[in-house]
């Protein structure tokens, strides 16, 4: 173990230019064996260019300058193809859709491992099985014997990680590998990765947009912006104080325990009243909440439904909005009992409900930016063209999209722009209820901070009640005063979020809180 601290990667003045645009400018850094380096930045920060080069995917259009030294090899000019005495392994994220949908996951991953070791497919399969068994908390190998569509994001992530580790890396390049997973899932998978890193001694370079995974990984961080390193240092140190304004905005996205919660609101009359609701679908034999679920949401209040995927939160929302039948109980929305309304009348009532969701397909990709905002005004209020344009302009200004081409199709917008467009659509709808479902999913830390501010502004100005669906207690803490924690279709804890965070009574609640806030116990700056 004498070579444990030897550098595995040394970059000197590395620059990458593409089509005349400088994507990465004079980056110099050293990564030691066994060390972790987090590259933090948004999509235009230059980290993608760096990963392209290190991962071996640099293209002809990339003009590369600077030098690189890999392991014990000589320093060489950085280029598309380089001699490498070390084993570099690229770990993609699920968002990059790395799987062929027609072949089982195990088969695809085994082929990758076998190719890397230049061994038969069966050996690759065995290596994959062993790597998966070493990862604490990973699913059994047999789970991967299904096509990708049958597996959840976290199962696929475990598979990808096992395949990467089975290739015995000296340097593991993780490209937003765990983005989109819930805090509990990230915590488990990062713990397993770090245990393997400690055992095998490989260096880890993790590219991150958000801070959720970075907060679990820890290690050294370099913050990139427009191709330049603007700040560098240990994660804990950066989290407690930032020199650069951009880094400060990034770290405002980091959920911290004890952070000021929104003021508790009890104003207004009840908007949503739920009495003894058994929100299972008819015929569903799953567990039932004892005596059904009862709660009340007042106008302007905010309630978070917190739980892992499949815990029943979305089923409850669908039942509350009359989109799905339920077994028993009563839902009163805006003083009207939904059970006595026809589907058409329920639809009319839903006109003042807005949806803001982390699903990228929530908006029609064919529509233009303007049409997306105009539609609720035209469809529900029949306003004149001038009035519609006025409302649209105001809404787009508030979310920062006024300067965008209004005739551009939604499909051409970035993820952050789509999310802001949903807020603009919500603003013109003047909703009495906003259903907000994982609003920060997949956004970089900067965009997360902006989105939180936009949602806060929506609540202050339009005053809708918030119903927040999330697996991240940090999101609940930022947007809600009250919370209900779900597990397997049942509510396991409920009440003011401040109280629950201080003293969680249920084991599942404690896990959710620890995963989101447990490792970031810093004093608020």
């Amino acid at each position: 173990m004498s070579d444990v601290r030897k550098p595995i990667l040394e970059l000197k003045d590395l620059s990458i230019t593409r089509g005349g645009v400088v994507e990465l400018e004079r980056l110099s850094c050293v990564l030691d064996r066994g060390e972790t380096l987090i590259v933090l930045g948004d999509d235009r920060s230059g980290k993608d260019a760096l990963l392209r080069l290190l991962g071996g995917f640099a293209q002809r259009a990339d003009e590369i300058a600077g030098t690189i030294k890999l392991g014990a090899g000589d320093e060489q000019p950085a280029a598309r193809k380089m001699r490498s005495p070390i084993r570099t392994v690229y770990l993609p994220g699920i968002e990059q859709a790395p799987f062929n949908p027609h072949v089982t996951v195990a088969s695809q991953l085994a082929r990758v491992v076998a190719r890397r070791h230049e061994s038969p497919r069966e050996s690759g399969r065995e290596e994959l099985r062993i790597a998966l068994e070493r990862l604490t908390g990973a699913p059994p190998f047999e789970t991967l014997e299904q096509k990708p569509s049958a597996l959840s994001a976290v199962m696929l992530s475990w598979g990808l990680l096992a395949a990467a580790l089975a290739q015995s890396p000296d340097l593991l390049i993780a490209d937003h590998a765990f983005a989109g997973l819930t805090p509990i899932e990230i915590k488990a998978i990062v713990a397993a990765l770090q245990a393997e890193q400690k055992r095998a001694g490989f260096a880890l370079l993790y590219a991150a947009r958000g801070l959720q995974t970075a907060a679990n990984i820890r290690g050294r961080v370099i913050v990139l912006r427009q191709g330049r390193v603007i700040e560098e240092g240990d994660f804990d140190k950066l989290a407690s104080g930032q020199a650069h304004a951009y880094t400060r905005t990034l770290f405002r996205a980091l959920a911290r325990p004890g952070e000021a919660l929104p003021a508790r609101t009890t104003r207004g009359e009840p908007l949503l009243q739920v009495h003894g609701l058994d929100f299972r679908a008819p015929g569903d034999r799953g567990p039932k909440a004892r005596d059904g679920l009862s709660f009340e949401l007042r106008r302007g209040a905010s309630l978070a439904l917190v739980g892992e995927e499949g815990s029943g939160r979305r089923r409850l929302i669908r039942a509350l909005l009359g989109l799905q039948p339920f077994v028993s109980g009563r839902v009163v929305l805006d003083q009207v009992d939904l059970s006595i309304l026809s589907p058409a009348m329920t639809a009319r009532l839903r006109r003042r409900i807005a949806f803001i969701t982390g699903a990228d397909d929530a908006l029609d990709p064919r529509m233009t930016l303007w049409d997306t905002v105009d539609e609720p005004l035209r469809a529900h209020l029949g306003l004149s063209r001038d009035l519609v344009a006025g409302h649209r302009e105001t809404a787009l200004k508030r979310v920062g999209l006024a300067s965008h081409d209004g005739r551009a199709a939604v499909a051409t917008l970035s993820r952050f722009d789509k999310r802001r467009l949903q807020v603009a659509r919500a603003i013109v709808s003047a909703p009495f209820l906003a259903v907000i479902d994982e609003p920060l999913r997949g956004l970089d830390a900067f965009a997360q901070t902006i989105m939180k501010e936009l949602l806060d502004d929506l609540r202050k100005q339009e005053g809708p009640a918030f119903l927040i669906v999330t697996a991240d207690v940090g999101v609940a803490q930022a947007l809600a005063e009250d919370a209900m924690f779900f597990k397997a279709g049942r509510v396991v804890e409920r009440g003011p979020l401040r109280e629950i965070l201080k003293n969680p009574k249920d084991e599942e609640t404690r896990h959710l809180i620890e995963a989101a806030l447990g490792q970031s116990c810093y004093k608020t700056p």
Binding site: V112, A347, A362
Partner: protein, 274 residues
């Protein structure tokens, strides 16, 4: 890591080139049709313009037929007749097939599925037989409408499936959850799907109705002399085609080009074109 390689950029560029070639071809045909009276040497059905069954020559570039008619002039006039009959037929297909398919997909589910089942069954019947049946029930004068209606079931099914995909899409579900009505969602489909695809749908329909119309004429159920279209010209050459190839080859070539260009313009891939 496990990326699938599709070679999409090359495929996409090739498709764009083929589509452009199709539209250029159709534009040239449109020019030929609109100037057919000017480009033709003699009016339609002028007999004894030259020798009987004369082969292609300096004077008669496409030769002459058994009545001494100039085949170049006759082919131009017949192409014009075919296109003029195919255009209203295409409009019928677009309205009763593609447009109706889009609307039907947004109807209440039981009604939508019933229509889909009924018209889907009709689409399994060859368009030619449907056209003959409709002409039989009406008259030759309805040949264009009959061809349009005969091609409509296939257009209906394709439009219904496209609109159905949009109906089931997540964005439609979110819109419905926020109280957006079926009428507004239909408007979306008409604005963004129907108008975006109308040109390719029209080109596809043009190819389909041209085949049906020409075949019906070939069988003697549509065009009547002296107003001959390409199908009837080919039918008229049956007796002497083996000795005078030019009597059928040039009308067949014109028909082939019209259908080929329409299908290329519609962006059909190799399988569909075959």
């Amino acid at each position: 890591m496990v990326m699938t390689v599709t070679g999409q950029p090359l495929q996409s560029a090739l498709a764009t080139v083929l589509r452009a070639a199709g539209w250029i071809g159709l534009a040239l045909i449109a020019v030929a049709v609109s100037l057919s009276d000017f480009l033709a040497n003699v009016p339609a059905d002028t007999v004894n313009a030259g020798p009987l069954l004369g082969p292609p020559s300096e004077v008669f570039r496409f030769g002459t037929d058994v009545l001494g008619r100039d085949m170049l002039s006759e082919t131009l006039h017949a192409l014009s007749a075919t296109v003029r009959a195919a255009l209203p037929a295409t409009a019928v297909t677009l309205v009763t097939g593609a447009l109706f398919g889009f609307v039907a997909a947004r109807l209440p589910r039981p009604l939508a599925l019933s229509l889909r089942g009924l018209i889907g069954t009709l689409s399994a019947v060859p368009g030619l037989l449907l056209a003959i049946l409709i002409i039989g029930l009406t008259s030759r004068g309805w040949a264009s409408v009959a061809a349009g209606l005969a091609a409509a079931p296939m257009a209906f099914v394709q439009a219904f499936e496209r609109a159905g995909t949009q109906t089931r899409a997540a964005h439609s579900e979110y819109a419905r959850a926020a109280g957006i009505s079926a009428v507004t969602l239909l408007r979306r489909d008409l604005i963004y799907e129907f108008t975006q695809t109308i040109l390719s749908s029209a080109a596809r329909a043009l190819a389909a109705v041209t085949i049906i119309l020409s075949t019906v004429s070939f069988l003697g159920f549509a065009a009547e002399p002296p107003h001959r279209d390409l199908g009837l010209m080919i039918a008229a050459s049956k007796g002497y085609f083996l000795d005078a190839w030019w009597t059928a080859a040039f009308p067949a070539l014109a028909l082939t080009l019209l259908i080929l260009f329409a299908r290329l313009a519609a962006g059909l891939d190799e399988g569909e074109r075959a």
